[in-house]
Symmetry: C2
Subunit: 322 residues, 2 copies
């Protein structure tokens, strides 16, 4: 059995839960290594993965005896079979942050148990990364860095945002990415004031600011890279803001130590600097792993101590309307 499933089973015991229904494909990948849709049932007797005909062959190909996971095709499951799974048990956990209200009601009917919220149990477990996970994230970051280095040498006036975004993605694939982590943002000029802009046909001009936000996926794991680039001359006021944000980022990284509380780091930051002349300051980051945005969120309301081998993206930003 995977160490991830073992750890989850221990935690379920601690919560007096007899089992858990795991539905989020990211949780399933984390616990089993499987990249397939379905539901993973953790019950006292076994680990059962119920999938469908689109995935059953690849699932059976990947599972070894050591995985201790029984896979089955849902077309072979009767309604009665579902009621047998937790027959002798009652309190079963579920993923309240993933399961829709409609699915919740369907599970109640199907499994005939009490469904208990697990308060982000698997999400919390995923905060601390195993060495193998860190290697994959590192590789995703290398792919991203290399693509960015290439692109800053190739941006020319007259190119469009879309052309730059496409070339950036192409470089990531050439460097070994399996996919992109999220929709690439390349926002220039007035578009750069919008943190979630979509690349347009706007042509790059002299003195533009270009905002990049992009990442690569490598064996399921993500990188997240946010950069601001200036075309040609930099105005004094731009330089001032850029250096302010950079200093914030460096300060945050410096304060990131095992055992420090996230809200303390954020508060230190706020008392160190006057932010009055900035219009909006983004939340300053988030965990990164199998999801591009994971627990923990990094903002002044999060009362949570930093753990060893957690992986986070630190990306403070300042956005002026227009």
């Amino acid at each position: 059995m995977s160490p991830e499933i073992k750890q989850l089973r221990d935690k379920l015991k601690g919560l007096n839960l007899s089992g858990m229904i795991v539905s989020n494909p990211v949780s399933i990948r984390y616990l089993t290594g499987l990249d397939a849709e379905g539901i993973l049932i953790i019950d006292p007797k076994e680990n059962l993965f119920i999938t469908d005909s689109r995935y059953i062959e690849s699932v059976n190909n990947s599972l070894t005896i050591d995985a201790e996971i029984v896979a089955c095709d849902k077309k072979d499951m009767t309604k009665y079979d579902y009621t047998l799974i937790f027959e002798d048990y009652n309190e079963i956990g579920f993923e309240e942050n993933y399961v829709t209200y409609a699915e919740y009601k369907r599970y109640l009917e199907l499994f005939q148990v009490n469904l208990v919220e697990t308060e982000g149990l698997i999400e919390s477990q995923r905060i601390v990364k195993e060495p193998g996970e860190i290697e994959k994230i590192k590789k995703a970051c290398e792919i991203t860095d290399k693509a960015f280095e290439y692109i800053i040498g190739h941006i020319r006036k007259g190119m469009t945002e879309k052309e730059i975004a496409f070339e950036l993605e192409r470089q990531m694939y050439l460097n070994g990415a399996d996919g992109i982590a999220f929709e690439t943002i390349v926002a220039s000029g007035e578009n750069s004031s919008m943190p979630h802009a979509v690349p347009t046909d706007r042509v790059i001009e002299e003195n533009d600011i270009i905002l990049f936000d992009f990442g690569a996926k490598y064996q399921g794991y993500n990188s997240d890279c946010s950069r601001t680039v200036f075309v040609g001359e930099i105005l004094e006021v731009q330089k001032e803001v850029y250096e302010f944000v950079l200093s914030q980022q460096e300060k945050i990284i410096e304060n990131f130590r095992e055992g420090t509380n996230i809200k303390t780091i954020m508060r230190n930051r706020e008392t160190d600097y006057s932010l009055e002349h900035f219009e909006i300051l983004h939340s300053f980051g988030h965990g990164v792993g199998l999801d591009i945005h994971e627990t923990p969120s990094l903002n002044s309301k999060v009362d949570c101590f930093l753990k060893k081998n957690a992986v986070v993206a630190i990306e403070p930003g300042v956005y002026f309307p227009r």
Copy 2:
């Protein structure tokens, strides 16, 4: 106000609901044209879009007075403000197929109303497309067809699945796609038996079957194209299966007429052909629009009459293990 919001308001009245909380970004885009995260509140007094600082500027830029939508930044909303929205009302609809169980509980606390399931109300409304929507889907299909035509002229032995997938996506972008509709599937040889294979470094060889499943996104709307290609010689048994599936597809398309019941089409098909010698037969299709998989599903259990201006992908498939 958009015709889509007007229609929704009429339907809510018919269900005796005083309003609705719309959370799915695809529903929000359909109703408002906005491409932003947040929640859209339909209440008897107004249409209110609560978003956050990442989107507020672009939202305010896109909304005209005719939209009759008030946008606000959630940081300006107090807990008390939320309780005022439905102050004089009680039965409010929500999207039970999108809202998670945790969000459902948060909405109950925030809005202090009875939340009522709407049984896919907006999804049903989206089945019938407006002419403008059909134009966008047509454009997405043209982009896809052109890219496929290019790629079949450029596949060579020695190329990998990944290289083909990347070139296919590049062609879609060059033809005007804003993005891809879903992760491109290029599965060759033994990989082609898995409907949801991920492109690998497997090299194309003589006599390979290559399964393609891919699509483009154009102004939010998707295309979905599934094709099977043979490299070099075609075995007699392959040709037989290929022509069987093609005839199925043609037969289904022929029977697709306004007012026909989906399950009837599926049943006609089953009585016309002997399927005994095939291992798996996929569900034969689905609606396509702002989502790549929309209502209606096309399978023998769906008791639903086809409507004029519905858009569906018809993609029957036969998969033999290994």
